[in-house]
């Protein structure tokens, strides 16, 4: 890596990449800040808002139109994009550490499908809940159900694919396909029995986009995501230990079961809330951690926070592309990410063909 030469010799330990990882964090903060500004400034409203944004940042009064565009449309959308991107990338990195495999992505192995299933159940059958409970849950019903769905599917996947602390990749991917098929079938059934109003909600929800972001949507999704972000640093050391297998991790002093439980909960919270508000955007969780491991190594203490920053920036860039490429219309962001992520995934497979035999 180009950055390796910058590390002062004699100070750093050979093979220790923590300095580069820390530098990368600073660089990614700058990148993310730039992406946030670009996401606020660029859009389909006809004019570029760079000057308006500058005025806004300086605290000057804006025209009503500009204020609506910036404050009510672009700002929640930008924050949502950053949060969803960070949540998907962090959950990918945590899952890969938990399953000890770089291909474990929530979108690929059925965790997003599980979250979507939970969301659909909540939309179609939520009305059957006692009114008092509906009042308590309110807006949080869909994200919470998505969280439960992704939690259950992560636990099932881990149980099926892990024997004696060793995860079989083939079993994991196949179990993910089976789980996705099953939840897809039941979801289809639910769509079939849904009434017209529910169908409308389902359609909007399923578009897989952050275009419809509003402040209220943001506030329903944010708490669960923040839970995941708070939990992530606590599993970093444990995931490092788990890279050597569960027994070795335990011998190194890791509370393995607690690490696994926390990791699964964090993944479920992040994926559940991201899917609940964005309908599930693929490949962020596999592209981002993989690139970061190539650049500065697999140490989860740095990988998780760098994943959050790069994931947020990547999703914002993808969202900007989705806004401008066929402006004034918009492409769903899921398409942009699939165009980036599909070939990337194939590239990983080509580079490491032996990976499925692990």
């Amino acid at each position: 890596m180009a950055m390796a030469a910058d590390v002062p010799r004699g100070v750093a330990l050979a093979g220790d990449r923590s300095h580069q990882a820390n530098r990368l964090t600073s660089a990614l903060l700058v990148v993310l800040f730039a992406a946030v500004l670009a996401s606020l400034a660029i859009g389909a409203s006809g004019t570029s808002l760079w000057t308006t944004l500058w005025d806004f940042l300086r605290g000057e009064d804006l025209s009503l139109r500009d204020r609506v565009v910036l404050w009510d449309i672009r700002l929640p959308r930008t924050l949502m994009g950053a949060l969803v991107g960070a949540a998907l990338a962090v959950s990918g990195a945590i899952m890969q550490g938990l399953f000890r495999n770089p291909l474990a992505d929530p979108g690929l192995i059925g965790v997003s499908a599980g979250a979507g299933f939970g969301a659909i159940v909540a939309i179609v059958l939520g009305g059957l809940l006692p009114l008092a409970l509906q009042d308590v849950l309110g807006y949080y019903l869909v994200p919470f159900a998505a969280f439960l769905g992704s939690w259950a599917s992560t636990i099932i996947l881990y149980r099926v694919s892990t024997r004696k602390g060793h995860t079989s990749v083939a079993t994991m991917l196949l179990a993910g396909i089976a789980l996705g098929a099953l939840t897809g079938a039941i979801s289809g059934l639910l769509v079939y029995i849904a009434d017209d109003a529910q169908l409308r909600t389902l359609t909007f929800w399923g578009m897989g986009s952050i275009a419809g972001a509003t402040w209220s949507k943001l506030f329903t999704a944010a708490p669960l995501m923040i839970v995941a972000f708070i939990a992530a640093p606590f599993v970093a050391k444990g995931l490092n230990g788990l890279a050597l297998g569960e027994a070795a991790a335990s011998h190194m002093g890791i509370a393995v079961q607690r690490t696994k439980n926390t990791a699964i909960l964090a993944v479920a919270a992040a994926v559940g809330s991201a899917v609940a508000v964005s309908g599930g955007i693929g490949f962020v969780g596999i592209v981002v951690p993989h690139l970061l491991r190539l650049a500065v190594g697999p140490d989860h203490r740095y990988l998780l926070r760098n994943s959050a920053l790069l994931g947020a920036a990547l999703l914002l860039v993808a969202d900007i592309i989705s806004r401008v490429v066929i402006a004034p219309a918009e492409l769903p962001i899921g398409i942009i990410m699939a165009v980036i992520g599909g070939p990337f995934f194939l590239w990983i497979l080509l580079r490491r063909r032996g990976i499925l035999d692990m």
Partner: protein, 261 residues
């Protein structure tokens, strides 16, 4: 003091260890030897808590079965036969994993020291997955050594549990690794090693537990264990101790010593 009492291990319907009792002292290298499938590794895994078992394991007067992982990690390191590694860590990063918890946490200077102890001083920046099997095994030993760097802690002796530590190594590195274990014991730590090679065992062990068919036949000094009678019984073939074969080539590790002459 390590004391394992009445250890019984079942794998499904099969009983792999029958009511085995075993002990080891700090300051000594205790070897567990026996034929393939006799339960050597299983006994070590029961002692380290990896294999679920009946019976009790006491380590430094503490019940190992109920101690927290980080309490145990502070006083003992465990080297498995093989260690899979999921992600592309460098050698230094693997050794650093040994510092995750325990008293040596964040003493980064131990990393190069541990690597040079196993003869891999210049390997820090190499990728673990690109090393040979024997080199990987020595990196893992460096990781375990880093975890229990000082053989004696404030609360008592530290322990090394080694599962066939030399099986993947050439003769020079077999001697080197056994010498590391020997030095750890001489400095006051306890070493328990599952051994396949009876010659190396004879050279380095203070105590030998001979295990056959899931039972310990005898535990004592090398002189008393390495006899024609006991070994023949345990290995189920006529074993001759101290009698070089009358014809053919043989290698005697006793005649080798570290370094090039």
């Amino acid at each position: 003091m390590l004391r394992a009492e009445n250890i019984t291990v079942h794998f499904g319907p099969r009983t792999v260890l029958h009511d085995v009792s075993f002990d080891a002292k700090p300051g000594a290298l205790t070897a567990i030897v026996g034929p393939n499938g006799s339960g050597k590794t299983t006994l070590l895994k029961a002692i380290t808590g990896e294999a679920s078992h009946d019976g009790q394991v006491m380590l430094n007067g503490q019940n190992a079965g109920s101690a927290k992982p980080w309490e145990l990690a502070a006083i003992r390191g465990v080297l498995p036969q093989t260690t899979p590694l999921a992600f592309p860590f460098t050698v230094s990063e693997v050794v650093r994993l040994g510092l995750i918890s325990g008293v040596t946490a964040d003493q980064a200077e131990i990393i190069p020291a541990a690597l040079s102890r196993v003869g891999l001083a210049d390997y820090g920046a190499r990728f673990y997955q690109e090393l040979s099997g024997g080199e990987q095994q020595r990196v893992q030993l460096a990781r375990v050594l880093a975890q229990v760097w000082e053989p004696i802690s404030e609360v008592g002796p530290r322990w090394l549990f080694l599962d066939e530590p030399v099986s993947a190594l050439d003769i020079a590195h077999q001697l080197q690794v056994m010498q590391i274990a020997r030095d750890f014991a001489d400095a006051g730590g306890g070493v328990v090693a599952v051994m396949h090679d009876l010659n190396l065992t004879a050279m380095f062990a203070d105590q030998i537990a001979l295990i056959s068919d899931g039972r310990i036949i005898a535990q004592s000094t090398p002189d008393e264990i390495l006899t024609n009678d006991l070994l023949s019984r345990a290995y189920n073939c006529a074993v001759q101790v101290n009698t070089p074969p009358s014809s053919g080539t043989y290698i005697l590790p006793h005649m080798a010593s570290m370094g090039v002459h």
